[in-house]
């Protein structure tokens, strides 16, 4: 069972603070990845990310050891890491269809 659990998420570089789901994962599922056992606080879709450990507000998110943005608030281990708690360090992704009317 342990090996199939291991294959459900992937840490792309040893320094990464997020891991990637390799299948659709349910909230509450226990995931063993990168030597840690985590309980998921959110459902995570295939290819989406969750926190491997607690991430402080303002901390850089690392994937493949590359910074992909900064946390806008504290993120718990096992929590989904996405547009609701991360912002770009370059350009915010507000496309016209996503813009909120004034």
């Amino acid at each position: 069972m342990a090996s199939s659990e291991l294959s459900r998420a992937l840490q792309l570089a040893p320094t990464d603070n997020v891991v990637v789901a390799l299948a659709d994962l349910s909230r509450g599922a226990t995931i063993d990845v990168a030597g840690v056992s985590l309980s998921l606080r959110d459902p995570i879709k295939i290819g989406h990310k969750f926190a491997l450990r607690e991430i402080a507000a303002g901390e850089r998110i690392l994937k493949y050891n590359c910074p992909i943005g900064s946390a806008t608030r504290r993120i718990e281990a096992g929590e989904s890491v996405h547009t609701h708690n991360v912002r770009s360090d370059y350009l915010a992704n507000t496309t016209p269809t996503m813009a909120v009317p004034p």
Partner: protein
């Protein structure tokens, strides 16, 4: 280990992996007539491209010239309304100088739609006959240029299809071929990594500058190259999307930075800067994926590798498109449109190296005439918009 490709030799010394005739509209007003002439042949050997604008634009002029003299193209019929701003004489001279048959029809001079259709059909019929009489010749991998693009990306793109295409690119370059990756706006955040791979420090700086230009351009527009579908697919920021896009470039050193219409001087890896120079003038750098494919083709790419996670179906006029599907669920839904199932990597059914090798071998078979899925389904998308560029500096192509 690799078999030679099958090419069509052009009078200018270049070789194509397809043997096409183009019907080219020089303004939207001539589009219907050009499309109808193309339709009458019901053949993938006759394809319609063109430029919709009535006002002249140096970029569009250069692009159509590069495309009408593309190695996959053996001749062109130019369809003009008669009063548009496009310089049809210059285009016809350039095509003729390349040794390709070319003929220009003005709808106003011909006497309208029906007369132009008939004259066009007659010219294409005879041109096609001579084109088909030409014997294919062996073609070396060093004569092949391949462009790469991703469209409809999701978070699986950067995990499977893009790095697998990077492996295929490394194999192509090792075989003497030319590989071009693009979209500086989707390399924001990757500038330092790219600069480290540049052949010279000056090229490294030019690569950094091209990404900085893209970031400025997109900042002026107000948003990056990031569609709502990207976020839905698990990509959080432009730099995360960039990370996935960047993986398409493989591990080889970067030999140069080129602009649309520039042909790389020799085999190797090149970055195509698709973001216009100067003030933001004509809107989005590229309105869709086919606008980028047109630019890759104008740089001489005879073949395109297209990675998709969400599931794009497009092909292109002129250059066959190999679709590499990143997401296993998308592959199961849209199998008929996908040439390669890279999502197997995610499910542990294949390695990155295996899928990379598979893509490389498929490039060989398509280069020997095998139709890609989008070709078999009849896809011939094409788009060309207004843009402006200045020539790249000498640092961009180190000798």
């Amino acid at each position: 280990m690799t078999l030679p490709l099958i090419g069509y030799a052009r009078a200018d010394g270049r070789k194509g992996i397809r043997n096409l005739l183009l019907v080219v509209y020089l303004v939207e007003c001539a589009h219907h007539v050009a499309r109808e002439i193309t339709r009458r042949f019901e053949s993938k050997d006759v394809q319609c491209i063109g430029f919709a604008g009535c006002y002249p634009n140096a970029y569009a002029q250069d692009m159509l010239q590069a495309l009408c003299t593309h190695p996959n193209v053996g001749g062109a019929l130019l369809v003009s309304l008669g009063c548009e701003g496009f310089n049809r004489t210059a285009l016809a001279s350039a095509v003729s100088a390349s040794g390709r048959p070319v003929h220009t029809l003005s709808i106003q001079t011909c006497g309208g739609t029906r007369a132009t259709l008939e004259a066009g059909q007659a010219w294409v019929a005879q041109a096609l006959q001579s084109l088909r009489a030409e014997q294919p010749v062996p073609m070396d991998w060093s004569e092949l240029s391949v462009g790469t693009i991703c469209g409809g990306s999701d978070a699986t793109s950067g995990l499977t299809a893009n790095p697998a295409m990077g492996v295929a690119f490394d194999l192509l370059i090792a075989s003497g071929g030319t590989a071009i990756f693009e979209e500086t706006g989707e390399l924001i955040g990757m500038e330092e990594l790219m600069a480290q791979r540049a052949r010279t420090p000056e090229l490294g700086q030019a690569l950094r500058d091209s990404v900085a230009k893209a970031a400025r351009y997109y900042a002026t527009l107000g948003y990056p190259s990031f569609a709502p579908g990207n976020a839905e697919g698990g990509l959080t920021t432009i730099e995360e999307k960039s990370l996935g896009a960047y993986a398409k470039s493989g591990q080889s050193g970067i030999d140069g930075l080129i602009k649309p219409g520039t042909r790389p001087p020799k085999g190797g890896l090149y970055l195509l800067d698709v973001v216009p120079d100067g003030e933001v003038r004509f809107g989005f750098p590229n309105i869709n994926d086919n606008a980028e494919i047109a630019e890759l083709m104008a740089c001489g790419c005879q073949l395109i590798l297209f990675s998709t996670g969400r599931g794009s179906v497009v092909g292109s006029a002129i250059a066959p498109v190999i679709k590499v599907c990143a997401n296993p669920d998308t592959y199961r839904r849209m199998q008929e449109d996908m040439d390669v199932d890279a999502g197997r990597i995610l499910e542990g059914r294949a390695s990155l190296a295996q899928v990379g090798q598979e893509i490389f071998e498929l490039m060989g078979r398509v280069g020997q005439g095998q139709a890609t899925c989008s070709e078999a389904l009849g896809h011939q998308e094409f788009v060309l918009t207004y843009k402006q560029f200045v020539s790249a500096g000498p640092a961009c192509l180190p000798v």
